[in-house]
């Protein structure tokens, strides 16, 4: 009796294993061809910065590089760097395969000429535009959203280094420990925790330091810094009044989420010559209409993707925001698409962000902003305007 049971169980066990193998194989195979990547091929990286003034100028820098399959050991490796979490990280050799998990990191990598080494980006990374194409062509893998990474994908790419963001809870508590357990090197950057341009420079320098491209970083920083200082300088020379600015992350119906004084956007507003009405708060407060009306902003900036202007206008009409000076003066701006990305991502385009905001806040000094993805609300009070002219 006992041996019968044992034989029976063993047979059932084998059947179970067989079913598991067959079933699993088909289940796995049906998932498509996320096959493990081989080494990347030469890629031309184009970094483009759009500066809009009264005449549109594009400044293009083209870098073509080829990766070498043998790793050059410079006397500077191994080196130790300190990342944004304060961890000391030992870099044994120059990392060749990079995974970026946040759009701003992707921009920074490309700006430093490291774009060709990227093997994986998050699904929201879309700048420079070639990132989108490279992803489509399969030359760069999509590793999921910044908050919903696919660790398996990341591992299959055999990266030498994975960049994560400080302040992103799942990066710090979930993904980094697991990736480290699998032996992958993770480096944290400040990303959205950046408070001003110097934090962005810190990130750029940190990345450059890992790849011995400090000179590239320094020249990039110099360029950005000059542009920023130009704006600051211009504002200083003119004795201007600083208008109250309200920035809303999303239309009012998403909640009146604004940016507090210790955020990057607030720094942008202040540097562009405005006063962020939410600056007395820290973090990302939700305001109420009473407060907004008491501050009576003269300019309202709304960042959102996928909202159209007439929809927004209708919505605003119904809210107390239509009683602000911004509404009366018609100074309500909707930033969508790329414009929204530029303003919300502390990265190499902060100078462009500052440029945009300075044109919005002080068009009398910097000129009007003319971009397809920045729309000014049309408040129709034609008769009065005509008369005024």
């Amino acid at each position: 009796m006992v041996s019968k049971t044992t034989t029976f169980s063993i047979i059932m066990l084998l059947i179970g294993v067989a079913i598991g193998v067959v079933g699993g194989y088909f289940a796995g195979a049906s998932l498509g061809k996320g096959s493990v990547q081989t080494l990347t091929m030469p890629i031309t990286s184009i970094y483009t910065s759009y500066l809009t003034t009264t005449q549109i100028q594009t400044e293009t820098r083209i870098m073509t590089s080829q990766i070498v399959t043998t790793v050059l050991t410079t006397p500077q490796y191994p080196k130790t760097i300190v990342d944004a979490l304060g961890r000391e990280i030992k870099i044994d050799k120059e990392p060749m395969r990079i995974v970026s998990t946040m759009p701003s990191i992707t921009e920074e990598l490309f700006a430093l000429g490291l774009g060709f080494r990227i093997v994986g980006v998050d699904s929201y990374s879309n700048y420079p535009p070639e990132v989108v194409n490279l992803r489509k062509e399969g030359k760069i893998a999509d590793v999921g959203g910044p908050w919903t990474l696919d660790l398996e994908k990341i591992i299959s790419l055999r990266p030498d280094i994975v960049f994560l963001c400080r302040g992103v809870s799942v990066h710090e508590s979930l993904y980094a420990p697991k990736l480290e357990e699998r032996g992958l090197k993770t480096v944290f950057l400040l990303c959205d925790s950046a408070k001003d341009q110097y934090d962005v420079y810190r990130d750029l320098r940190l990345i450059a330091g890992i790849f011995n491209r400090d000179d590239v970083a320094e020249s990039l920083i110099k360029t950005i810094d000059k542009k920023i200082n130009d704006v600051i300088g211009k504002l200083k020379t003119q004795n201007i009044s600083k208008p109250n600015v309200l920035i809303l992350l999303g239309p009012p119906s998403w909640g009146l989420w604004s940016a507090g004084g210790n955020t990057f956007i607030s720094w942008l507003i202040t540097t562009a010559g405005g006063v962020n009405i939410a600056s007395q708060y820290s973090g990302w407060p939700q305001l109420d209409y009473e407060y907004i009306l008491s501050k009576n902003p003269e300019i309202i900036i709304i960042t959102a993707h996928g909202i159209n202007m007439s929809q927004l206008k209708k919505e605003l009409e119904q809210t107390p925001l239509s009683r602000t000076k911004a509404w009366t003066d018609g100074k309500i701006y909707l930033l969508s698409g790329d414009a929204s990305d530029i303003v919300l991502r502390p990265g190499p385009r902060i100078a462009d962000a500052l440029d945009m905001l300075s044109k919005i806040i002080h068009p009398e000094i910097f000129g009007e902003l003319s971009r397809s993805d920045v729309q000014k609300i049309l408040v129709i009070m034609p008769i009065i305007l005509i008369v005024k002219r």
Binding site: S9, M12, L13, I15, G16, V17, I19, G20, V21, G23, G24, Y25, A27, G28, A29, L31, G32, K33, G34, S35, V36, L85, S123, D142, G144, G145, W147, T148, L149, D150, L151, E152, K153, I155, S156, L157, R158, G167, V168, S169, V170, E172, S173, L174, Y175, A176, P177, K178, E181, R182, G183, L184, D192, S282, G283, W284, P285, Q286
Partner: protein
């Protein structure tokens, strides 16, 4: 007549046990194949023979790493269901309520509240996963103790436990909502993800804390199966049969709370498994705890592992990793509705 019925029951148990064990192995092996990358069979065999090597380093072959990821994930998912299956069974017995689940003791929301509070006070704590796990665990137990204390004030009966659990759970639910909002507003940290449950990021060194208490829980529960059986029929019945109901309650609740707290802190809040596994088990083998204590964890393990495999498939299609806790609830809600209707009909 009685022997016929009895041995029929025993046979059903043996049969169910075998099916569940086979299902467990089948699912586990299938899970090795499922993920966003494709892996071939040879690698899997090779991997399994080297399974306990080098837990903390990169294998030369990324496929090995991926396999390692899938194995740890599969084990985490399975034993989460295993623990919740037992916890759910015990809580349903203790409260004499077939619709109870382990979270009615107020553990999940108190855990969430504690984690949010600690992040609010020390935002850097997120870096130290081990600390967060510990805080989540202590938070869960705190909620449990408050519930028990409250229930004792209310007389200590099974009804008192349920009501106290609801009160404590709601209180901490409100508190954690507030705290989550504050954390979001202050630091722009969205931490719901931390507790909606995922098996993907469970570390190997955390798995023993999931596995050993679960197995210990099954063994201890089996030892007191008679107390549990007697307890079903009332406090008076249990006592006059020689088993003080308070002892049964204490032992069961300790096991339930520890197992639930462990799953919350390591994997997150996985709904429905604690409710459904005992139901399915009772449907298979009836109410004798000799059988249900053994089977309910297995049912839970199978359900959760299956859900995790589904998560991998859905996430691949959708492009982003979905939380396990959400999928189990989605699969579960229709089943729960069916159960409620069936029960009310009778």
């Amino acid at each position: 007549m009685a022997e016929k019925i009895y041995y029929k029951g025993v046979k059903r148990f043996v049969f169910s046990l075998m099916i569940l064990m086979i299902l467990s192995i089948t699912l586990f092996i299938s899970s090795l194949f499922v993920g966003s990358s494709s892996i071939n069979l040879y690698k899997i065999v090779h991997m399994l023979s080297n399974i306990f090597l080098n837990k903390n380093s990169l294998y030369n072959d990324p496929m090995m790493n991926i396999l390692d990821l899938r194995i740890s994930r599969g084990i985490a998912a399975y034993f989460t269901g295993f623990a919740l299956g037992l916890a759910g069974l015990l809580i349903q017995t203790v409260t004499r309520n077939p619709l109870a689940d382990p979270y009615i003791l107020g553990l999940s929301t108190s855990s969430l509240a504690f984690v949010s509070l600690s992040i609010l006070l020390f935002p850097d704590i997120m870096i130290f996963r081990w600390n967060l796990v510990l805080i989540a665990f202590l938070g869960a137990l705190t909620g449990f103790f408050i519930t028990i204390g409250l229930s004792k004030l209310a007389g200590g009966s099974s009804v008192a436990i349920v009501l106290s659990g609801i009160a404590v759970g709601s209180f901490f639910g409100g508190v954690s909502h507030l705290l989550l909002y504050l954390v979001q507003a202050r630091y722009n940290i969205y931490i719901m993800y931390l507790l909606t449950g995922t098996a993907q990021t469970v570390l190997w060194r955390e798995l023993p804390y999931l596995i050993y208490p679960s197995i210990a829980g099954v063994i201890i529960s089996l030892l007191i199966y008679k107390m549990l059986n007697a307890y079903l029929y009332g406090d008076i019945y249990s006592r006059q049969l020689g088993f003080p109901p308070g002892v049964t309650r204490t032992i069961s609740l300790v096991i339930t709370s520890i197992l639930t707290a462990v799953t919350i802190s390591i994997v997150g809040i996985i709904g429905f498994i604690g409710l459904a596994s005992p139901h399915i088990t009772r449907f298979l083998v009836g109410n004798d705890h000799r059988f249900t204590i053994v089977l309910s964890p297995l049912v839970g393990g199978v359900l959760t592992l299956f859900s995790d495999i589904s998560v991998r498939i859905i996430s691949y299609a959708y492009g982003a990793e979905l939380p396990l806790g959400v999928i189990t609830m989605m699969i579960g809600s229709p089943f729960l509705a069916f159960l409620i209707i069936k029960r009310l009909r009778e």
